[in-house]
């Protein structure tokens, strides 16, 4: 069984607290926005220079001057503000963003993250990912537990070039929620996932307390 994408996003959204300023990475992390409780006051940052990101526009209401870091058209909110790239990354680097949720190719048991290049393939660039993982207070990886070929993405050490060293705090996959703190500890099983399945599908030792 395990969690589908919707359940993964829903579970990730539970990490957001009232008053948080949050940066959501490109891909699945972007979808987490759809699951944020209406009771929470959460402000989304977009690293190309915006705080208070609103939903995608209605058709015909898009504005070429208003995009997010994934170059998608977005909208503003009454509390929005715009700023330069230098000011945006001062905000990120300075530790003012509470939470960042990103995708990953590999995560190590020490919290090393690889999500920007595969040697031999065309390098697209790291964009703002290295700044986010180095600067944001809490970094959550949201990803499938295994690659398409079934190989584990949680490893003792990353084989791909790193995006950041010892930067990941929490991993949410289709199999469960894992904390990184002197190794990897299972916090929560996804539905109908067994300890054995996690052990089999993980490339690093996992500490189970339940």
């Amino acid at each position: 069984m395990s969690w589908d994408r919707e359940k993964m996003c829903l579970r990730a959204s539970k990490e957001l607290k009232d008053g948080d300023y949050v940066n959501l990475g490109i891909g699945m992390p972007t979808l987490v926005a759809n699951y944020i409780s209406q009771d929470l006051n959460v402000t989304l940052q977009s690293e190309n220079g915006m705080l208070g990101m609103g939903p995608f526009p209605l058709k015909g209401e898009e504005d070429a001057d208003l995009i997010n870091a994934g170059k998608q058209t977005i909208t503003s909110l009454p509390e929005s503000s715009y700023f330069s790239s230098a000011d945006s990354f001062a905000m990120i680097r300075g530790g003012h963003i509470d939470l960042s949720i990103l995708g990953a190719m590999e995560v190590s048991s020490k919290g090393d993250l690889a999500n920007w290049m595969i040697p031999g393939k065309m390098v697209k660039g790291m964009g703002g990912a290295m700044d986010l993982v180095a600067g944001v207070k809490k970094v959550i990886v949201l990803m499938d537990h295994n690659a398409k070929d079934g190989s584990p993405k949680i490893l003792n050490s990353c084989s791909l070039p790193l995006t950041g060293k010892e930067v990941v705090d929490l991993i949410i996959t289709n199999l469960g929620v894992f904390e990184i703190n002197n190794g990897i500890k299972l916090l929560e099983y996804a539905e109908n996932v067994s300890k054995e399945e996690i052990i089999k599908k993980t490339g690093a030792e996992v500490l189970f307390t339940n």
Partner: protein, 237 residues
């Protein structure tokens, strides 16, 4: 009557650039993706035929847009960028060795430009520590955390796109089209700006100017903005 002549207004992109372009120069170009691009100035650089350019810009444009135009004509020798994933032509020229590429993390790139404009030759950041970015660079611990030293960046020319500008060169940007534009305006030995609306002095509120005129050497009113959207995304009602 207020009749100072700032001598900053030029009549066309070509006129604003013609005596300052040279082969092998370094050019900073504002914009994030296709948002906030100095479209008219890029076109004028293309037309000029100037070559062997080193270009500092967050992205490399797409095919047919932005700096992608200068790739078609093989005017770019080197790019300093944070992400070039949208441009297949860039990939081709890079893999064939025609073009040199230096990746900077986006925040490090922004801060290097800000530092260049602010007279700061080097600074320390935690971004990139333990990755290829910090390879062969000095690292150092402050308060038990490791940082890497990065250097300031300046360019022979910065091309900038603003929303509104006045005769004195004061600029205002619009929404996320601001991005790298204001910092690049500070880091060009010469800064040339194109605006959608060219105003008289006094039309902008002094409290609300994003870029003070001191950073702007030349200014033109741009035309025919394509303002292409790279990734149109809409929601259902």
């Amino acid at each position: 009557m207020y009749k100072k002549n700032y001598k900053k207004i030029y009549n066309s992109p070509e006129e604003s650039l013609k005596d300052i372009l040279f082969d092998g120069m370094t050019i900073m170009s504002g914009g994030f993706g296709l948002c906030g691009l100095p479209e008219n100035l890029i076109l004028a650089i293309k037309k000029s035929g100037v070559t062997n350019l080193s270009v500092i810009s967050n992205n490399a444009g797409t095919e047919g847009f932005g700096l992608g135009l200068l790739l078609e004509t093989r005017q770019i020798k080197k790019a300093i960028s944070s992400y070039v994933g949208e441009n297949k032509l860039f990939e081709k020229q890079y893999l064939s060795g025609e073009i040199e590429l230096e990746f900077n993390p986006q925040g490090t790139l922004a801060e290097r430009i800000r530092a260049g404009g602010a007279g700061i030759p080097a600074f320390f950041t935690a971004t990139g520590v333990g990755t290829v970015v910090s390879k062969n660079k000095e690292t150092r611990f402050f308060n038990e955390k490791e940082y890497v030293m990065e250097t300031g960046l300046v360019a022979d020319l910065a091309i900038v796109k603003a929303w509104k500008g006045d005769e004195a060169g004061n600029l205002v940007f619009r929404k996320t089209a601001r991005n790298f534009n204001p910092i690049m305006a500070t880091a060009g030995k010469i800064t040339v700006v194109e605006v959608e609306e060219l105003l008289s002095v006094g039309e902008l509120d002094p409290d609300q100017i994003h870029t003070p005129g001191i950073y702007v050497n030349r200014i033109i009113k741009g035309d025919n903005y394509s303002k292409a959207i790279e990734n149109l995304t809409v929601r259902e009602k």
